[in-house]
């Protein structure tokens, strides 16, 4: 479904990605795990076409994303829903307008009643009640904002959902809730998920496939168990800090 081939990207003298090869199967959840500055977000921005690679390419459903421009790229982006690190909800809009936004912009002929029905349906997927519809994002807790953000990402039924650091800055209970939400979205809707994270516990919980990014390269990839047994020195060090705590 997503295939990253020999991806290279530099910003000035700073080489951020140094040849990434990665495949994410349809309906699975792939977590890109890595520390700060390892290039995780840059990799995700290539997948959704926000950045162009210096070398290499990205295929999504056999569509070569870096070759697309203008309306074609806009159309290709409808394959994705994205959940941002800090939710990135539009704070001048209510929950109803936030969640309805991608759908309304995709098809402006949909009636207000139908939009509301679809929004309520997606809020149920993320366990939110209809009563939140008139609220504005600042009136919601961090966890609720994350759920609204996921509902917004899912509203147009995209086959792929991207999560950018979904558990950063959340308390343990909310973190667990967000993890369950990612697993639930995959199971209930069958979406393919790509998660960018530095949260080892969450990554092992939600991932079907893990890729550890280090210094612009994939240091280890495979099932969580395969990555756990990796002999790569950085991966061992990165994971040991957490496993020792358990």
């Amino acid at each position: 479904m997503i295939r990253v081939v020999d991806l290279h990207k530099s910003f000035g003298a700073n080489q951020v990605l140094r040849g990434i090869d990665l495949e994410v199967d349809k309906g699975s959840t792939c977590v890109i795990l890595g520390g700060s500055g390892s290039g995780k977000t840059v990799l995700m921005k290539h997948v959704i076409g926000l950045l162009k690679p210096d070398r290499g390419t990205v295929f999504v459903n056999d569509v070569e994303i870096p070759k697309l421009e203008g309306p074609e790229l806009t159309e290709a982006r409808r394959m994705f829903g994205m959940v941002f690190q800090k939710s990135a909800l539009f704070d001048s809009m209510t929950v109803l307008d936030n969640v309805a936004f991608p759908l309304h912009e995709k098809d402006r002929s949909i009636s207000g009643k139908e939009l509301r029905r679809r929004v309520v349906e997606k809020l149920q997927v993320v366990d939110l009640a209809e009563s939140v519809l008139p609220l504005y994002p600042p009136e919601l807790s961090g966890g609720m904002q994350k759920r609204v953000a996921l509902a917004r990402a899912l509203i147009h039924d995209p086959p792929i959902v991207l999560y950018d650091e979904p558990t950063t800055g959340l308390d343990p209970i909310t973190t667990e809730y967000v993890d369950d939400m990612i697993v639930s979205a995959k199971q209930r809707l069958g979406v393919t998920s790509m998660v960018i994270s530095h949260d080892i516990a969450s990554s092992f919980k939600v991932a079907d496939k893990l890729a550890v990014l280090y210094d612009g390269e994939i240091a280890a990839q495979g099932t969580p168990e395969e990555v756990r047994r990796s002999q790569h020195p950085h991966v061992k060090k990165f994971l040991s800090l957490w496993f020792e705590k358990q």
């Binding site: 959704i48 926000l50 806009t74 159309e75 982006r77 409808r78 994705f80 994205m82 941002f84 690190q85 800090k86 990135a88 909800l89 539009f90 704070d91 001048s92 936004f101 991608p102 912009e105 995709k106 402006r108 991207l162």
Partner: protein, 252 residues
Amino acid sequence: MRRIRDAIEDFGEMLFFALDTLRWAVRPPFRPELVLVQMAAIGVGSVFIVTTTSFFTGVVLALQANYAMRQLGAEGYVGGSVAISLARELAPVLTALFVIGRSGSAISTELGTMRVTEQIDAMETMAVNPVQYLVVPRVVAALAMFPLLTMVFDALGYAGAYLMGIYVARIPEGPFLEHTRTLVEPKDIFHGIFKSLIFGAVVALITCWRGYSASGGSKGVGESTTRAVVASSIAILLVDVGFVLVTVGSGK
């Protein structure tokens, strides 16, 4: 040297931003509902400051003009001189400066906050062009509202001058009105309104650009708003000088 190069680069980027705005302005989907919201924010929201300042500008202009002209025995010309100053110069320039303070700073802060909280990136990933959705309505609304606010400034400024001139300075009403009619021609009013149209585009583009390109959290948003207000105020004055040199210099 580096600062000059950065400033030139920045100006170039803003020109590309302006071209991008133009490109997206003529491309569907059109969103009149967003333009109306911005017209209310820029226009209706600025009515109080424009009415207040225009009235008092007219009042002090009349008193100052009366002070000077009475010495020449020409106080009958106070109404005409105030009206022509307002129509050609003060109404468009002062309206622009007040709207920069009232609405330009708000535009820059709002877009800057949306940028640093990734709301603009989110919009882009939802297949919605942020320039078309956020910038175009603000530019169109500014183009519509700047001339209207300038006309309000003209009318209330003259009303202030009339009240001061007739009832406080005791200028005879006949010459006051007659010299206004002879001195001020429709082309003077259109001169000011046309200028306000240009000011509207300049202010909206600069404040939108500053907000749109903000970075670095809340501190960055604050800096971009300051830069937006300073840059657009200076730009208004520079454009005004250029416009007057071209039009008055050529006798228009």
